[in-house]
Symmetry: C2
Subunit: 250 residues, 2 copies
């Protein structure tokens, strides 16, 4: 226990993605009792200004709010910070500065490294991300530096991705399998088609480069040429890395 | 937005119950975007000493740790405190003192009031709770004061309830429908039998008086005399009350 690090979660972007990250982190922890689980402090602040709007110059910067959350979590005892929102990583520098000596696990770097390790033969990936994350080139530059080509949905297809992500944020697309309606199935089906067109354009794996995407799509959902396309969830990769770093079992 | 209150969650008892409360609170919030959701700060500290052991005089008191969590959450901005663990309410006074002027929504009171409102004709309920919660008479006294008889499982049946609750805490009984194994189905089946014996003894409704129980049992699961017994989930009632108090729509 004593060697374990307290995890601080800069969350709320959106709340469903934070719930998903928290649930997966708890589920992934090997524990024989409450007391063997990790301490996790969460600031689920959905009031953080919209990341895509800020990146596109249409809205207020979320950086001061993200920095304040980082400071608050460190004050609460966080010894390791994570931010399960890819687009917000356009403002990661502000978080790093606010965190001071407390390490911040970068979600983009984590996902790119995990993709290279899991899928060393893959030369091109398809990105499902927000307009903001794409405009900031968070994943394109990181994959390029790792020698992997990053394909993005074009035109209407990228609008479909944004519609799907904001449907989750509205809470209409994901309330657990029991409450899923026909409208949500349609959102999922359209997103799957976008992923399949990325595959047709040369993507050998799909990267859920937005933490809302794994709420709509899972490994096995995207098919191409009679096979199943590998699927990399940025949420799941951050869970794995957080657990490894927090428990020292990395 | 400005009228909404920041919710502070004293959590980690156990982590799965905190995930469940958080997920249900987010899902229950009517919101058109991230920014319309509630800010929720969570201290998921599974290191809090075991509540039942403390109540039975076999272990350290969790009160100082609970008070510290309350103070930390208030420092983080919490304007309303909740603690989704029934047994920990044996130490609610310490939380109330630490919270100062910040209101603390009592889970026991919330559940008893909701039971009376939803089921005014019910004269006797069956409690599924920890040994600690029963020894502290948290629900028995509150239901008695409300004119409702509270029945508790006897002997081996109460041991079955404790085994089921601690199976959730070990993480073996609940990892979502996809990962549920035969062992977990057996835990659920045994818990259902205990509830049915409470019904046979006169309980007209089952109260999940432990926040791990709704992870194992739901409305419709408990049958008696060819009908379905009403089921009151303390987690769900706390979600409803929290939402009402935080949004001012109560």
């Amino acid at each position: 226990m004593s060697a374990r690090r307290v995890v601080g979660v800069i969350g709320g972007m959106g709340p469903d993605a934070t719930v998903d990250f928290f649930a997966k982190l708890v589920a992934a922890t090997r524990a024989g009792s409450d007391q063997e689980h990790l301490r996790i402090v969460i600031d689920n602040d959905p009031g953080v200004p919209d990341r895509t709007a800020a990146i596109e110059g249409r809205g207020e910067s979320p950086a001061p709010r993200l920095a304040a959350m980082a400071r608050g979590l460190v004050a609460q005892g966080a010894e390791l910070l994570v931010m399960p929102c890819n687009s917000a990583h356009a403002f990661a520098e502000a978080v790093r500065e606010a965190a001071g000596p407390v390490p911040f696990l970068d979600l983009i770097e984590t996902t790119v490294v995990a993709t290279r390790e899991r899928l060393p033969a893959v030369a091109a990936v398809g990105l499902l991300a927000t307009d903001g994350a794409l405009a900031a080139r968070l994943y394109q530059d990181a994959f390029e530096a790792a020698g992997v080509r990053a394909l993005v949905p074009l035109g209407d297809d990228q609008r479909t991705v944004m519609d799907a992500i904001y449907a989750v944020k509205r809470g209409s697309a994901m309330r657990g399998p029991a409450n899923r309606g026909a409208a949500d199935d349609a959102v999922r089906a359209r997103l799957r088609l976008v992923a399949e067109r990325l595959a047709a354009a040369g993507a050998e794996a799909i990267v859920a480069a937005c933490t809302e995407v794994p709420l709509l799509m899972a490994e096995g959902d995207v098919r191409h040429d009679g096979g199943v396309l590998p699927f990399v969830s940025s949420t799941d990769e951050l869970v794995r890395r957080t657990l490894a770093e927090a428990t020292g079992e990395g």
